[in-house]
């Protein structure tokens, strides 16, 4: 009898914990919801969906992107439509870095009747959810999803970052200009971001006259890269291009150095994340990557005030005080939607979508406007390297077209 009681207690405790976990994942929206009703009793509310992974493989990066969005919601809390002051309320859902969960999460947002959506970190989940947003006629603004397919053929998807073909070209150019003539490409199977960026790099690199010495692939959640890296070592390339998630990056870097590989290791925007330096330690020295944003080189006044305001915000959220590029993009995606709502003078998704097409504003990652595909017109990327445990600005690359 006694035993049963203990078990029952244990179960209750477990359930309580579960509930607590659920509570925390939605706390962002709850908090802002409460704030909205307090400051704006009688006021009108417009809902914006935040479609980000806070758990799963990309949980870390998604959280950083969501922080940028939440911060933007603090600085741009209300929008005037006609004579009414609307309070913007964020509705956060977790797409769990999983394409199936992404569809569920997107449907949930549609059920909440949001006027627009921001996200997601990770191109795969954005592609999976794109059709749902389009069917519901709700515009979505991607922050850091760089795969072309996100916006292709989807009138309702926009994004504020540059694209993978561009990013791949930037890195290929950088490699060739600095005398790296042979490359190995290491990509993740079934990950649209990784395999897409890898193949764009490959195309650009071969067009520029470089040789692809080896191509290797690995599985999601794989932690042992020694076998693929041994193959790469045998091919002895000048540069290893390994676009991948921040979970796998430190493993690849460390294991490569451990096997005695001395080639330059390079990747795309995801790698600009301090957890990589933290986890890979000394091995991360010399890694080169392309990114959207550099806090040492604010592009305009908006960027300056963002950097000043966001650092304390990061501190309040117990994060490192290095602004991740994805947070900056999250902020910009929010601004894009904000400007569009203001221009449309409506909470209707269709009208906001039309307004987005003509929106032009200064974001923290540079001036932003959208082309006919809904992609931000950007032709500049920052190239950074890791030096003495810090991301160091190396050069900017501009490519026409």
């Amino acid at each position: 009898m006694n035993m049963k009681k203990i078990v029952a207690l244990g179960m209750t405790a477990a359930m309580a914990l579960n509930l607590a976990a659920c509570g925390s994942s939605s706390s962002g929206s709850a908090a802002s919801g409460a704030a909205a009703s307090k400051s704006a009793s009688g006021d009108k509310v417009i809902k914006i969906g935040v479609f980000e992974p806070t758990t799963g493989e990309n949980g870390g990066g998604g959280f950083q992107e969501a922080l940028g969005i939440r911060y933007a919601n603090q600085t741009h809390k209300t929008v005037k439509i006609g004579d009414d002051e609307y309070t913007i309320e964020l509705v956060e859902v977790d797409n769990k870095s999983d394409k199936t969960e992404a569809v569920n999460a997107a449907n949930k947002l549609m059920g909440e009747k949001v006027s627009g959506v921001i996200g997601s970190y990770g191109s795969g989940v954005s592609i999976a959810a794109g059709q749902i947003f389009a069917d519901a006629k709700v515009p979505a603004v991607g922050a850091s999803c760089t795969n072309p397919q996100v916006t292709e053929g989807n009138d309702y998807y926009f994004r504020v970052c540059f694209l993978d073909p561009f990013q791949g070209t930037v890195m290929a150019n950088y490699a060739m200009q600095n005398g790296y003539k042979t490359a190995a490409v290491l990509t993740q199977l079934g990950d649209d971001y990784s395999s897409g960026l890898g193949s764009f790099f490959k195309t650009a690199f071969t067009n520029l006259g470089g040789t692809i010495a080896d191509e290797e692939q690995f599985q999601t959640n794989q932690t042992d890269f020694k076998a693929v890296l041994t193959n790469i070592k045998a091919a002895n390339p000048d540069i290893i291009f390994a676009p991948s998630s921040i979970t796998t990056a430190p493993l690849i870097i460390k294991q490569a150095r451990e096997l005695g590989i001395t080639s330059l290791i390079a990747a795309g925007d995801t790698w600009e994340n301090s957890t990589i330096i933290e986890n890979a330690g000394d091995s991360a020295e010399g890694v080169v990557l392309s990114t959207f944003f550099d806090e040492a080189e604010p592009a305009n006044d908006e960027a300056k005030s963002f950097i000043e305001g966001f650092k304390p915000y990061l501190k309040d959220n117990k994060q490192d005080e290095i602004i991740p590029a994805v947070s900056a993009l999250g902020y910009d995606a929010y601004l894009a939607l904000y400007n569009a709502i203001e221009a449309a003078q409506s909470t209707d998704g269709e009208k906001i979508k039309d307004a987005l097409k003509d929106v032009k504003f200064d974001g923290v990652t540079g001036s932003i406007s959208f082309d006919e595909n809904g992609d931000a017109k950007k032709n500049m990327a920052f190239i950074k390297t890791i030096e003495k445990g810090q991301f160091k600005f190396l050069t900017t690359t501009t490519i026409d077209g």
């Binding site: 758990t55 799963g56 045998a234 979970t247 493993l251 451990e258």
Partner: protein
């Protein structure tokens, strides 16, 4: 493929196999005694990884290592007490569902407590020292893992065959009710089995993560599944079987990746599972021929 590359790949495969073998023993022992597939085993392994991160943050390694082994053992035994023991007379399926529940609970608890961001695994002095022999380059832990695995398995088999507790374990695995009638303390024996399984998972975790450097809440799920397959392959219930299964899987997987078929490296594990179930359902060292512990 040059000889150096070949040897380097072999080394990788053997080292991975050693870590798999240590975890697979945990599955096989619990199955041998309770006829329960302890799905939470992979997550105990993951928790051991987190324990090590926190232990190393505040203690020197020679205290941290035993501390982690102890805490993991307590966790394993605790889970048995809370989630499996009350179901001892329930149908086997209920216990299995309970095990799956514990597995999810641990994964989500870890996500909640430690976030989904990967955390750096601390270095134990010496284990990460890099050795170079000719063109081969590997850290000490790569050489050490298979050796330690063999030593531990030898000790474990001695324990099962030459101690009183080992005799009790064998008796319980043969016939649980008769063993109880003969005056064997069933609960103590089962707890002991879980303690050993978790201890080996903790050792496996130290070796595995030292080589792979980061821990995140799902880092136990795939190794857990693979080691389960290793145990089935070797004949679930048989310790030498689990060890052989671990090495076969580790090396097979590495060989496939080395040959350029990384697309199929995970599939390999599960194809092995299907084939063995079709051809020889009791596994290589099936329980009909050997002891069940």
């Amino acid at each position: 493929m040059s000889l150096t590359t070949f040897l380097q790949q072999c080394l990788t495969g053997i080292s991975l196999g050693g870590a798999y073998a240590l975890i697979a023993i945990g599955y096989t022992m619990v199955y041998g005694i309770l006829r329960l597939i302890n799905f939470a085993h992979g997550d105990i392994f993951m928790m051991a990884g987190y324990f090590m991160i926190f232990a190393m943050a505040s203690m020197p390694w020679f205290i941290a290592v035993p501390f982690v082994l102890l805490v993991t053992t307590v966790l394993g035994v605790g889970i048995e007490r809370v989630a499996y023991k009350p179901l001892r007379s329930a149908p086997r399926m209920s216990v299995m569902i309970s095990a799956i529940g514990v597995s999810y609970l641990l994964q989500n608890l870890a996500t909640y407590l430690f976030t989904a961001l990967p955390m750096a695994y601390p270095e134990i002095p010496g284990l990460k020292k890099i050795f170079k022999i000719g063109g081969l380059s590997a850290s000490f832990v790569t050489f050490f893992t298979p050796v330690l695995t063999i030593v531990l398995v030898y000790l474990l088999i001695t324990l099962i065959h030459h101690t009183k507790m080992g005799m009790a374990m064998r008796a319980v695995s043969k016939d649980y009710e008769t063993a109880a009638l003969m005056g064997i303390d069933i609960n103590r024996t089962i707890s002991f089995t879980f303690a050993i399984g978790s201890l080996l998972a903790a050792i496996g975790s130290i070796l595995y993560f030292t080589d792979r450097m980061t821990v995140f809440p799902f880092s136990g799920s795939l190794p857990g599944l693979k080691c389960f397959v290793a145990a089935v392959f070797g004949g679930i219930g048989s310790i030498p079987g689990a060890v052989v299964g671990g090495f076969v899987l580790g090396m097979g997987e590495t060989a496939l990746v080395a040959a350029g078929y990384s697309t199929f490296s995970d599939a390999f594990t599960f194809v092995v599972l299907i084939i063995i179930l079709l051809v020889r359902p009791t596994g290589l060292f099936g329980e009909k021929t050997t002891n069940k512990v």
